[in-house]
Symmetry: C2
Subunit: 371 residues, 2 copies
């Protein structure tokens, strides 16, 4: 036991991890996965220009990164056509969500999210003593009007809404989101997590004035830009809120190599477009694999596809267990009825070959165990 | 103004940064510094093997880093001859200090440090509402017995003690630290920040059983290993306390490239020894530069040297301003009487040539303004 007492809040928290990493699973099973399709990582990888920029930056890593991430913020401002003062760079969306929760949530404050939505957000809310109120998905979609109605009912300070959604891959229309924004209650801030938005149809992205004070948008280089391990995310919001991060953030927290990589990745539009095309093809392929086994899959606006295993959560978990045992890292939704699905990240053709080979026997085994 | 209210604690915090980065200063002055000797970065850079490991890891950055940093933790355990369960890896000591403060400090809790010691630690304590109690340096040394006596007097939960010290570069003897540990009061945890310990004489490092529950040691790859921009630090403590970090840390916060770089850097003992030799030479050179201008410098156990400008803080600030204006990034202590000094990081010979060229005229200018 530590000699000092934890705070009352921390004392009650479990020592947990929102997700067990694939490396830990590999150590347990005693071998590497043949395909890594469980964490919605982008197997197509970063732009060669980003790889070169990171390699070139390695020898300069004796220098701390610029705490203002000036160059990257400027490039993003130009990219989005907004002022620099409306952008905050952070160590992935995970870190930005943690900072945001810390800024607004103290013990007993209400926070609304969807049951089965991003666990790491919930981890941060628990970590600052917030009171999570969860509402169900509606037809496998996060339901913004219902989230905002619940926020009004309980007096929530924060609402979390991912569009496109993870883990189902579904999306709302931008115009529907815009229409719902009027219902954000007073005193409430909407967190719009757009980690996967580059993969979505253009009409999934709402048009929200950057000056709007009750919305903050989160973006990342982890998904479309293929740089999950670099830990670069950013928030876009009105300038006062962005400045608020400077009250508490780890100013020198950004990896200098990652800053350089993100800057180069952002500039390589051709490669981004190629990635999006690759992901499109992989989504089609995963849907075909499901169909070939007599199963449905959900239309996806992300770099993963939820395959509906056609029965309940126990069955899908059995399928998942067999797929993983066959050497393919995949994950699945945690909450019913979404946990009837397993979630397959959009790998390269060779990755999906491996998944396909594992999937049929896994289904058969799960069905035999069921019978 | 954000639509939601900040917590009462965060509302009162300023939007601040513990240090302004050199890049921001370069943007203001409209040109790059000719020498970068202000942040105790290690200009000799990382091991070529670490550079290669980071370059090689760049293409694999599509994968999240292992949240357990398993390989690096195991290598460090072997390096220090302690179990893996006693080591926590984090995004630099800065992040680990932030986590540690969050684990133990809530509003009004007392924390003891030295006046003029590491500002980022104070930033974290302020950020969680702790009540900082500061005691003066003793002969330019952080004074562990006095820190612990003050901790007992005020009922502190945390005491911060850096050995070697920053910004003065002085060190205590390991045996003196060992002798003081019996005086850590009940309910108090001593944070022993050893960021610079690889540069110190062997007898500066205390022998403390890893099971001891009232001490946590902090180490980093930012200094001797030349990887400040990679953001890799680690804590060593009894296993329960290490597990406590898992209650709140950003599990997926580590850059995968940085993990690979640290692992390779740790293995290259020859390069580390060469770096330490290079730093030794630079310390001698900086002391000579001071002496050639009729000034004293403090014996240093770190990769920087404090030059005593021989007058008060206003004078040293004037000297610093002129050195910076001449294109050399340096910093200085914030608090009297330590602020009679300016602090020069141990650069390469060519960096110190540039500093030397700037220093004489800067002194002369400051003296003329004074007259």
């Amino acid at each position: 036991m530590p000699s000092a007492k934890y705070t009352d809040l921390v004392e009650k928290l479990p020592a947990s991890v929102p997700f067990v990493g694939p490396e830990a699973q590999e150590r347990t099973r005693g071998g590497e996965f043949a395909a890594r399709l469980g964490a919605n990582e982008n197997v197509f990888g970063p732009s060669p220009k980003a790889i070169k920029a990171m390699s070139d930056a390695a020898s300069g890593v004796w220098m701390y990164g610029d705490p203002e991430s000036h160059d990257l913020r400027h490039a993003l401002a130009q990219h989005h056509g907004i002022p620099t003062e409306n952008i905050m760079i952070g160590e992935g969306i995970d870190a930005l969500l943690g900072y945001l929760v810390r800024m607004f949530i103290t013990q007993g404050d209400k926070v609304v999210t969807s049951a089965g939505a991003y666990p790491t957000f919930n981890y941060h809310v628990d970590g600052f003593g917030g009171d999570l109120v969860k509402i169900p998905y509606h037809n496998d979609h996060e339901d913004l009007p219902a989230l905002l109605a619940k926020a009004k009912e309980v007096g929530a300070k924060l609402v979390y809404f991912a569009n496109p959604d993870n883990p189902m891959g579904t999306t709302s229309k931008g115009t529907d989101i815009e229409a719902a924004l009027d219902d954000i209650p007073d005193g409430c801030l909407l967190i719009l997590d757009e980690a996967y938005v580059e993969f979505a149809p253009f009409d999934a992205c709402p048009n929200i004035p950057i000056e709007q004070e009750n919305v903050i948008r989160m973006r990342t280089f982890s998904k479309a830009y293929g740089m999950a391990g670099a830990r670069v995310g950013y928030a876009m919001a009105e300038a006062d809120l962005i400045t608020g991060f400077n009250k508490i953030r780890n100013h020198f927290g950004m990896c200098r190599i990652s800053q350089a990589g993100a800057l180069a990745a952002l500039a390589d539009t051709d490669y981004l477009n190629q990635t999006i095309e690759n992901i499109d093809q992989a989504r089609i392929r995963i849907a075909e694999i499901a169909k070939n086994h007599g199963l449905n899959s959900l239309p996806s606006a992300t770099n993963f596809v939820a395959i509906d295993c056609g029965e309940d959560g126990d069955f899908a978990r059995a399928v998942l267990t067999e797929v993983v045992a066959a050497g393919v890292f995949v994950r699945m939704p945690f909450v019913a009825p979404q946990d009837r699905c397993i979630r397959i990240s959009c790998g390269r053709p060779q990755d999906l070959d491996i998944f396909e080979k594992a999937f049929g026997p896994a289904l058969a085994l799960a069905r035999r165990k069921r019978a």
